[in-house]
């Protein structure tokens, strides 16, 4: 009994021994299985899966836990039962051959039986005992013992005998399941719950808005804590599986590891590293804003890391998703072939929400993905009421977070609604919320994206233009300028205009530069010319002075000669020599 330790902290006494059913999910909510060595009652209306649950208990006991079982049917023959469960992969005949299972069909036909006085059900005891002994059974199922009430008339005897039977089963130490049809005001039509009071499980098959949902609830479980909610369960080709709602506490681990969104620019916006592993991401937006493209890009990024991705499509078939993704250069087929990517597409209206949840739960358990994509989550609203969707998603989130599975959901916003109205219900569950929107401008529609919130990381507050091209998703800066936010061709036009303006400016500047250079050159040549002139002037002046000196010398020589000629005295010559300027002036 694997569960012996689970509740030790709650009680120092030896916990109730349990008998695992092997049914997916049921052992979790019962904390290990049914009470060992005691009878448990499984009740519910017709067609709710009582017989299957009971039979699975026996078959799994025989196959997985090596506990042989006895199945006593009051309604169907052994052959009928064997045929019914063959599709689930249960080979009853083989189990019978290997002495793992004994079946007995007890037929009670009122028309064939006349009651004449006192009797008891010793015959049933004898048969049961023989069956138990024949395979050394540890598990017993009585399905549906209430048929006795319709076959036999004396209720007083029946009740006394049933009480004795359950007592006897306890004494035998077998773990038993007794099934019972749901009554009007009671759990079972005949009030068997009075006698089988250790554990009562109720199954329900409810139709709401024409959608059916199977639910399971532990009505009571003496001596053991148990989940008290209604748990959805599904019956499919592998049997029964219950979706345990484990959202009892908010204690899931929080990873600091980051994973890429598949779009480098978006990673940059998300603090440079992408999403947190195990977080929940919502991409919401109106129709055609590229939600699925974001989802498929993320799916590819997951597979490229070598991790598994489980893709729930509620709108498109796998083939359609793959084709559409390839149109933006995201080729998913190789990943599907490699087994890293698994699609599960179904219409939301296929069955009720809870059944969807149980189905998703089961697939996640089987596939073990690192990333789960739900596209779109809003479509589920058509399978249930808004608050139901909320509670379902809450449980899904809790489950995924508990397992550190990253969940990417898309959500269709109704155009015309207030921005986040339709997502209000799930907003609180979301860690990273990408908002995609249309930007209508200049007669065209473009896609814009921004991060509405992203818990625990430094994220960009910018609106980016979201472009889907042949090479995948690209995020571009939008034009922010005096003309406001521009996208698409308006942005391109604005960019072209700016470029043209810039080019024109460049030419002008070049021209000015050339002009300035020319001017400078002119000035320089002027300077050269002037300098040459200066030199010439200087030379002219020099030569003038030389001439002048020569002339003075000549004058002096002439005067000397003249004085000599006139025989002037020496003093007069001397004075005339010393004051020649004066003498010149004379």
């Amino acid at each position: 009994m694997k569960n012996n330790n689970t509740y030790r902290n709650q009680s120092m006494l030896k916990p109730l021994p349990k008998c695992p059913t092997g049914i997916a999910g049921l052992d979790e909510i019962t904390g290990g299985g049914l009470p060992r060595g005691r009878p448990a009652l499984v009740c519910g209306s017709a067609g709710c899966g009582k017989t299957l649950l009971a039979l699975e208990f026996i078959v799994r006991g025989a196959m997985q836990f090596n506990e042989p079982g006895v199945f006593v049917s009051f309604e169907e023959t052994s052959e009928e039962l064997a045929t019914n469960v063959r599709s689930l992969g249960f080979d009853l005949d083989d189990l019978i051959r290997r002495k793992k299972l004994a079946m007995d069909f007890v037929r009670v036909e009122r028309a064939e039986i006349e009651e004449t006085g006192e009797y008891d059900l010793e015959g049933l005891f004898v048969r049961l005992n023989m069956a138990i002994e024949s395979v050394k059974a540890k598990r017993v199922v009585l399905d549906t013992i209430e048929s006795l009430f319709s076959g036999l008339g004396n209720d007083t005897i029946l009740r006394a005998e049933l009480r004795r039977l359950f007592r006897w089963l306890k004494d035998k130490g077998v773990t038993a399941i007794i099934t019972g049809e749901k009554g009007d005001a009671t759990l079972t039509r005949q009030g068997i719950e009075e006698y089988v009071s250790d554990c009562v499980i109720m199954l329900d098959h409810r139709i709401h808005d024409q959608l059916s949902t199977r639910r399971l609830r532990i009505v009571k479980y003496r001596g053991s804590p148990h989940g008290t909610n209604e748990y959805p369960f599904i019956i499919d080709e592998k049997g029964l599986s219950v979706m345990p709602v484990t959202g009892l506490g908010l204690n899931h681990p929080a990873s600091t590891a980051r994973i890429s969104s598949g779009i480098p620019r978006l990673d940059t916006m998300l603090g440079g590293k992408g999403y947190y592993r195990g977080s929940s991401i919502l991409a919401s937006g109106t129709a055609g804003t590229g939600k699925t493209s974001l989802a498929t890009t993320f799916a590819r990024a997951t597979c490229q890391r070598g991790e598994r991705c489980l893709y729930f499509g509620f709108e498109e078939s796998p083939a359609q998703i793959i084709r559409n993704a390839s149109s933006i250069g995201v080729d998913l087929q190789p990943w599907v072939d490699k087994g890293l990517l698994h699609f599960h597409s179904s219409r939301p209206t296929l069955y009720g929400l809870e059944s969807h949840l149980a189905m998703m739960h089961k697939l996640i358990e089987e596939f073990g993905p690192a990333t789960v994509i739900v596209d779109p989550v809003t479509n589920l609203v058509s399978a249930g009421l808004v608050q139901d969707v909320h509670s379902m998603l809450l449980r899904l989130m809790d489950y995924l977070k508990g397992r550190q599975i990253t969940c990417f959901m898309t959500s269709l916003t109704q155009s015309g609604h207030a921005l986040e109205q339709s997502e209000v219900m799930i907003s609180s569950l979301i860690d990273t919320w990408l908002f995609l929107r249309d930007i209508e401008l200049c007669g065209e529609r473009n896609r814009g994206m921004y991060i509405l919130k992203s818990r625990g990381m430094d994220h960009s507050n910018q609106i980016r233009e979201f472009v889907l091209g042949k090479h995948g998703v690209q995020l571009l800066d939008v034009y922010l300028g005096p003309a406001g936010v521009l996208t698409g061709s308006a942005r391109l036009a604005q960019e072209a205009k700016e470029q043209a303006e810039e080019t024109a400016g460049k030419v002008e500047r070049q021209r000015q530069q050339v002009e300035a250079q020319a001017k400078r050159k002119a000035l320089e040549s002027q300077i050269v010319a002037l300098q040459a002139q200066l030199v010439a002037e200087h030379q002219a002046m020099e030569s003038l002075r030389a001439t002048d000196q020569a002339k003075q010398a000549m004058d002096r020589a002439e005067r000397k000669a003249m004085a000599q000629c006139r025989r002037a005295d020496a003093s007069s010559i001397a004075s005339s020599t010393g004051n020649h300027a004066k003498g010149n002036g004379k």
Binding site: V108, T116, V126, R127
Partner: protein
């Protein structure tokens, strides 16, 4: 108390009484049956008493549930009468010896 009075030659009534041990109810049932047969079917019946504590495997064949159970194997069709057979009227009806009221 296995094979009991195969009275005379032609036993057109083949009756089986299933019991589980010698309980007051089974003793009473056998006594009541014996008396009734003597009164209504003298010379043409055969009673086989089967104790399921000794032969539990026989319970399945005749779909025995209640104890005691009287099974009319012959004449056809098979009839089952449960209880200690204290209500003679109902036993007679059950054995088709008297039309249903």
């Amino acid at each position: 108390m296995n094979k009991t009075p195969a009275r005379t030659d032609a036993a057109t009534w083949d009756l089986r009484l299933y019991v589980a041990g010698r309980t007051p109810k089974s003793v009473a049932a056998f006594a009541n049956l014996k008396k009734l047969c003597e009164e209504h079917l003298a010379g043409q019946y055969r009673i086989e008493v089967i104790d399921l504590l000794e032969k539990p495997q026989l319970a399945k064949g005749d779909q025995i549930l209640a104890i005691p159970t009287l099974v009319r194997k012959l004449p056809q069709p098979i009839k089952k009468i449960i209880g200690d057979l204290s209500n003679t009227e109902r036993v007679l009806v059950g054995l088709d010896l008297r039309p249903r009221a």
